[in-house]
């Protein structure tokens, strides 16, 4: 039982992480020849994928795992919003947006933590 429990995270990585991700990459290789990037079905699928990833972001901010919970919700949301606004304001600089958002959350964690 202890052996199984120790092995479980590795199995989870392969079965629930690697396989369901790699299958899309592999399918894309097979279908790439007749792939039309502007087909409506693919735009729909891209929309679903993007909304799902946005949900992952929202979930990590609103219901955070681990120690992030120690920072108040308003600060977590504020840090994301501030980082995003700086990203937009700084000519869409990913790095500046992330650095600013990080500065806010670290300051918040230092103050409230």
């Amino acid at each position: 039982m202890t052996f199984d429990a120790a092995l479980w995270p590795y199995l989870l990585v392969v079965l629930a992480g690697f396989l369901p991700t790699e299958v899309w990459r592999s399918l894309a290789v097979v279908f790439a020849r007749r792939f039309d990037e502007d087909s409506e079905a693919l735009i729909f699928v891209r929309g679903v994928a993007t909304a799902l990833l946005a949900a992952v972001v929202a979930r990590l901010v609103l219901i955070p795992p681990g120690e992030l919970e120690a920072v108040p919700l308003a600060v977590r949301v504020g840090a994301v919003v501030a980082g995003f606004l700086v990203y937009l304001g700084a000519r869409r600089s990913v790095l500046l947006g992330i650095l600013f958002g990080e500065a806010v959350i670290i300051a918040g964690a230092w103050y409230f933590g």
Binding site: P9, Y10, L11, L12, V14, L15, A16, G17, F18, L19, P20, T21, E22, V23, W24, R25, L27, A28, V29, F31, A32, E37, E40, L42, I43, F44, V45, R46, G47, V48, A49, T50, A51, L52, L53, A54, A55, V56, V57, A58, R59, I63, P65, G66, E67, L68, V71, V80, F84, Y87, V94, L95, I98, G101, E102, I105, A107, A109, W110, G113
Partner: protein, 257 residues
Amino acid sequence: MPVSESSPDPQANAEPPVHALGWFWRGVIAGTTSVQGLVLFASMVGFGGLCRDIGFPLGAAMLSTLLVWALPAQVLVVGGYAAGSAAAVIALAVGLSSIRMFPMTAAIMPYLRGRSTSIAAQFLAAHFVAVTAWIEGMRRLPGMAAETRLPFFFGLGTLLIFSATLATLIGFFLAGTLPRSLAIGLLFLTPLSFLIQLAHNARDLVDRLALAFGLVLAPLFAEFGGRLDLLWTGLVGGAAAWVVHRFMKKRKEKGGA
């Protein structure tokens, strides 16, 4: 064929031939100087910290960076492990979140696939496709001579994937020793960098709407959607974005005609 369309490159014949290993190393160097690569490194440090925080073993965390090579999918696996979700539920969520690998891979393969490229080399190249390698690849590959692209992309992907695995290791150990506020900052890198990179990658109205709908719907479905809340958010948010996109397109076609 898209391959022959993209190959007319005025410099292709002018440049002296450099063997494949030379282009592999150029790809490695391109990876070390990439801003997206730096963000990925820091995000993976954050992921390593998240794993430590959740109680996910280091070996499995590093394996997930090497094999899964998609940060949101990795976060879903680790988050699902922490929540005690069934493996099938996690696999379904990962499968849906990784659907984006399909269009990304399909879009970049025409640049990487030469006439004599083996299918094994194509599958290996496809494995390197993730947000960071894709952004750098799509930016640099089209301007390069056809035969230099695959070794260059292998170099870029190898550098990114191994530095990210190293970052996972570093993050795992830093999470225990850093001041608490910095450790929390690392945990926060994943959602923060993800949101900004998603916005940065958004090409059309569909992407922006889906991003906005996903952010707004997620708390609702987290409250009422049960264990499949992420999937519901994706399906409803994505469908709504697509419907608006169809409506705008139809109106444009009517007005533009």
